[in-house]
């Protein structure tokens, strides 16, 4: 943990320091002071202005300026408005929002009430995955406790401001993280996105102005109010302020959640905080932005991480997934893995995402099976571009990113798959051949006995041979060989 100095905890400030089931712990760390100050100042415009000046941008992936979002919602007049918290975290391997909700639920509740006061809403709803039972339990406890102390509910802190928060459970559809889909799901309709405009801030839940922010975005709000926007704006880069929580995973020594200031480089994250690649292997790529992000190579290791730089590099911030890959990872398979996810999670509404992603997956599968050709690569490129250009929502518009960024950065790997029928990383089963080196083989028969399909033949004490047509590439022989005579070609 000697590298903790690189981390700044804002969103995660209370996680691990307080008992999330005890509101007094939260209050002891200045909890609900921000709400009290906002209510006392009684100047919603000034609060919105402060959020705008802080430079906070949406942490759910889009990176839209939070203050501007609040301002739009505040200016749309209606008899009823809503504050929505998007807790439908769905990126594989990501658990930023879950940690905040489980470790510091009050920070989100407090921010939602502040948001409600600023835009003129008295109703807040949290859309949370039903697969997060602990987060749900802690939120329910937190809401009850906040109501008991008068920090939520009727006449908050005696100011006459009312704000209620309820939970709605999602069934785990990735697309429901898209705000219009999320709203439709909460309305009881099919969770699928609709064309914007109208934006939720104009016409959202039940056709009323609705401000939707992500958990991590909300968690930043109380601190910005208490410490001032100047303090927050001093952290980060020119256009990306504050910190970002990442779920660091993959072939790295230290995995887990980290919170780092915007502008930190990938090298610092991977080699200092993450303590380098596992087993001293070579770094190959890092995938940021979840399933719809891109893979970045060594040449981006010293690029400061912020919203704009990641997009310029062909990836994105996303909600904060960060998966590190080493020399053993096949980039075609990586792209296929992510496509598998988006194919599964597409809502099916628009044709490019419904059918296009399926065809992308099938093309990648064909290539990893060793049946691809150069025309398939052309088609892969064209189809990816068309899907990006024509899909209805953010899911479809970004789903080809893993394909495009791996094609861009690892073109020769694709070519090796189709032209030489080889997987350079040795991952693609269909393209692997296990070979016995006759000079090293002593004919001990261990491999032949281990082979489940009887593909290995040879006389005792004579070099053995693997029948490539029968071999199922399970690797059992290689594990058994004590003489390093078996290798993958």
């Amino acid at each position: 943990m000697e590298n903790n100095y690189k981390q700044i905890r804002i969103a995660l400030r209370n996680c691990g320091f307080i008992n999330p089931e005890n509101i007094e712990d939260y209050i002891a760390r200045n909890g609900y002071a921000a709400l009290a100050s906002v209510l006392e100042t009684n100047n919603p415009q000034a609060t919105i202005e402060a959020i705008k000046k802080s430079g906070l941008r949406g942490r759910g992936g889009g990176g839209f300026p939070t203050g501007v979002k609040w301002e739009i919602a505040s200016k749309n007049h209606a008899d009823q408005k809503y504050v929505f918290c998007n807790a439908d975290e769905g990126d594989p391997g990501a658990f930023m929002d879950r940690s905040i909700l489980e470790g510091d639920p009050h920070s989100v509740l407090e921010a939602m009430a502040i948001n409600g006061f600023c835009i003129g809403a008295n109703k807040g709803l949290i859309y949370i995955r039903a697969e997060y039972p602990l987060a749900i339990e802690r939120l329910l406890i937190a809401i009850k406790q906040a109501e008991e102390v008068g920090a939520l509910g009727q006449n908050i802190f005696g100011t006459g401001f009312n704000f209620d928060i309820e939970l709605r459970y999602g069934a785990g559809a990735f697309v429901c993280g898209e705000e219009t889909a999320l709203i439709h799901s909460m309305e009881g309709d099919r969770g699928e996105p609709t064309f914007k405009p109208p934006f939720p801030a104009q016409e959202g839940y039940l056709k009323k102005p609705t401000n939707v922010n992500n958990v991590e975005t909300f968690a930043n709000i109380p601190v910005i109010i208490l410490k001032g926007w100047e303090w927050f704006a001093a952290i980060g880069t020119e256009k990306s302020k504050g910190t970002k929580v990442f779920a660091l995973a993959g072939k790295i020594n230290n995995v887990g959640l980290i919170e780092v200031p915007m502008g930190i480089t990938l090298r610092e994250v991977i080699y200092e905080i993450g303590n380098g690649i596992k087993d001293d292997k070579n770094f190959k790529a890092v995938q940021t932005g979840g399933p719809s992000g891109g893979c970045l190579t060594e040449k981006f290791l010293d690029t400061p991480i912020d919203y704009d730089n990641l997009i310029a590099a062909g990836s994105m911030m996303g909600s904060g997934g960060m998966i590190v890959m080493d020399e053993d990872d096949c980039m075609v398979s990586v792209a296929k893995f992510y496509l598998d996810f988006t194919v599964e999670e597409s809502c099916g509404k628009c044709a490019p995402c419904r059918i296009g992603n399926k065809r992308l997956y099938e093309l990648l599968d064909k290539i990893t099976e060793g049946k691809g050709n150069m025309e398939d690569l052309d088609q892969l490129k064209n189809l990816s571009k068309v899907i990006k250009d024509t899909a209805l929502c953010g899911l479809g518009q970004t789903s080809p990113n893993p394909v495009l960024s791996t094609i861009e950065n690892f073109w020769e790997e694709y070519v090796a798959h189709v032209n030489e029928k080889k997987c350079p990383a040795g991952q693609c089963k269909a393209l692997k051949s296990y070979i016995i080196d006759p000079d090293l083989c002593i004919g001990c028969t261990a491999c032949a006995r281990a082979c489940p399909v009887g593909a290995i033949k040879g006389e005792k004490k004579m070099p053995h041979e693997i029948n490539q047509n029968t071999c199922i590439k399970c690797g059992a022989c290689m594990e058994k060989c004590k003489f390093n005579a078996i290798s993958i070609k």
């Binding site: 559809a173 697309v175 099919r190 699928e192 609709t194 064309f195 405009p197 194919v343 599964e344 999670e345 597409s346 809502c347 099916g348 509404k349 628009c350 044709a351 490019p352 419904r354 059918i355 296009g356 992603n357 399926k358 065809r359 099938e362 088609q379 064209n382 189809l383 068309v386 990006k388 250009d389 024509t390 899909a391 209805l392 518009q397």
Partner: protein, 591 residues
């Protein structure tokens, strides 16, 4: 409203704020292709999920392509509808859709009338570069509708009709990702759902995913069976639409040619459902007068308003959704069923043919009629009053395959005695017509005076809900009219809450009534076609020498010779029915 200026393909155009790029482009003659987009102007029917992405265009300064059907024009916008980027994307998206669509155009019911096929032709698609998995769903044949979800392109038009316009809710999107498709809840059979078989899903489906059950082979077999006497009846709305199938302009009235074609096809007797529409008025009108008289005398038990009962989809609708109101509708059978009952009793006796040797065929603008004629209560010892019901489209197919040159046929009158009808009967073919016909008769029967003016224009129109008060010689008669089951639902909710002020309500399930029934020639969203048919209906009415049902000489005769009096004993036996509580708890059945 404010106008805004933009440039589309280097042409300047000025449109009102809120106009979509698609509309603005069409105004200056640029026809951006579409697939899922569907509108029935003037009927409040809109479907634009922005899902197919065929209509994408390039908007300067925008990161990705914009769907023209839902993107509103902005001042100063620069739009390109045919750049290389646009053309490549559109073509790729079309190829993707085709890659998950069965290429069985040769034997598809929609071939030649399919909007996807039309796009493939327009784009000159010669091969589909994408190969891969194809959707695989079981084809379902219900009493009226064949669903082949493998052909579904997820345009959601059927869903819009079923949910928004009809509030039936039988069809909606199920599954997600590649397997996503529009189907019933839990992918059950339509018959297990609340489907009313109105057929509006079929009327709007751009492809062959939803088509009618084809009864034409059965008709051909019946006609060629020498032991059978085959009697055909034709609904009013068929005569103002069939011409379209033979290149005539919408609104052409083809009654005489239609009769000639049916004779040429070999039907033994060519009769008119208009005849039994007049009969319906006698029965339903008498029922209305009876209920009104009792109501005026202070009878508190009398059920008002009287609801019409000629539309079979509407009957299904209240049996499913409002079974507690099932005592309110008129008990009069629909004209189709009245015809069948008389044909297989009175007429069969008259010509000395046994019931089982007679086949009654109906040509209907409707798909629910297929379901209606198969209902058990309309059978005698298992033999249905109406054996087969075919749609206007199916009749056109029959005529085409029998190489009959429809356009040059000589006009022929209907056969007697079930062929004579009035103007009051022909207006059954559109919304407001049934009630107008009833009022024409009720007025004269109640007041015993001649109508000063036959046309009740206050009952006409294409607005979804209409109302009018008719002065019946000092007695105000409050009439409500609805077409589209969502509109009917509003009126029914009022009745349930005791708020309805109407004495009688007419309901038709389809937009505009039968003129746009689920079995009519496809209009592909052109509501001018429906308006032309609507005008033709009233023209046909004006052209009739007799325009009141009770003045139909043939109807008078059948009461004298056979039925006795309207709503009398014999009528009740043959011409009236009753309704069932069909409110369903959807059961999941696994086959």
């Amino acid at each position: 409203m404010d106008n805004i200026k933009l440039t589309i393909d280097h042409k300047e155009v000025s449109v009102p704020k809120g106009t979509t790029i698609l509309k603005a482009a069409r105004e200056i003659g640029i026809d951006i292709p579409t697939l899922c987009h569907f509108e029935l102007a003037g009927m409040n029917i809109h479907n634009h999920p922005g899902g197919c992405r065929i209509c994408v265009v390039e908007v300067e300064g925008r990161r990705n392509l914009a769907p023209a059907c839902v993107t509103e024009c902005m001042d100063g916008m620069v739009v390109k509808t045919n750049s290389i980027r646009v053309l490549n994307s559109r073509r790729t998206v079309l190829e993707l859709i085709l890659s998950d669509h069965p290429a069985d155009c040769l034997v598809c019911a929609k071939s030649g009338n399919c909007e996807l096929q039309a796009l493939a032709i327009r784009f000159g698609v010669r091969e589909i570069p994408f190969q891969g998995e194809q959707s695989s769903y079981k084809v379902e044949v219900s009493p009226s509708i064949v669903r082949d979800m493998n052909k579904c392109v997820m345009c959601r038009r059927c869903e819009t009709m079923c949910n928004d316009f009809q509030t039936v809710g039988a069809l909606s999107a199920i599954e997600r990702g590649f397997p996503a498709v529009v189907s019933t809840a839990f992918n059950q059979k339509l018959s297990y759902s609340n489907c009313t078989f109105c057929g509006q899903c079929v009327a709007v489906c751009p492809v062959g995913a939803l088509v009618e059950v084809d009864h034409t082979p059965k008709i051909i077999r019946a006609i060629s069976d020498e032991k059978k006497t085959v009697v055909v009846q034709v609904a009013p709305a068929v005569r103002v639409a069939l011409g379209e199938e033979f290149g005539m302009k919408p609104g052409s009235i083809v009654t005489g040619k239609l009769t000639a074609a049916l004779k040429a096809l070999g039907f033994d007797y060519v009769f008119d459902t208009d005849w039994s529409a007049d009969l319906t008025i006698m029965e339903e009108g008498t029922e209305l007068i009876d209920r009104l008289t009792r109501h005026l005398k202070g009878d508190k038990d009398v059920k008002l308003p009287l609801l019409t009962s000629c539309c079979p989809a509407w009957v299904n609708f209240f049996e499913y959704h409002f079974p507690d109101l099932k005592e309110i509708p008129s008990t009069a059978k629909s004209p189709q069923q009245m015809f069948g009952a008389i044909a297989k009793s009175f007429f069969a006796d008259k010509i000395g043919v046994k019931r089982e040797d007679m086949i009654v065929v109906s040509v209907m603008p409707c798909l629910a009629k297929k379901y209606e004629c198969a209902r058990d209560e309309f059978k005698v010892n298992g033999n249905p009053d109406v054996d087969f019901s075919i749609s206007t489209r199916e009749l056109a197919t029959l005529i085409k395959q029998a190489n009959i040159d429809f356009n040059s046929l000589e006009e022929t009158p209907f056969d007697s005695p079930l062929g004579e009808s009035t103007g009051a009967a022909v207006i059954f073919g559109t919304t407001g017509g049934v009630i107008e016909a009833a009022v024409r008769t009720a007025y004269e029967v109640i007041t015993k005076k001649q109508l000063p003016k036959i046309d009740f224009t206050e009952l006409r129109g294409l607005e979804g809900v209409r109302s009018a008060t008719i002065d019946v010689d000092g007695l105000p008669l409050n009439i409500g009219i609805a077409h589209g089951l969502s509109n009917a639902r509003r009126l029914l909710n009022d009745i349930k809450e005791g708020k309805s002020q109407f004495h009688a309500i007419e309901v038709m399930a389809c937009p505009g009534g039968c003129i746009d029934g689920g079995g009519q020639p496809l209009h592909h969203g052109n509501s001018d076609i429906i308006k032309a048919r609507w005008e033709a209906i009233y023209e046909a009415d004006r052209n009739m020498p007799v325009r009141k049902s009770h003045e139909n000489p043939s109807i008078k005769e059948i009461y004298k010779d056979f039925l006795g009096e309207p709503c009398g004993h014999k009528s009740h036996e043959l011409l009236h029915t009753h309704y069932f509580d069909k409110a369903k708890v959807i059961e999941i059945k696994l086959d």
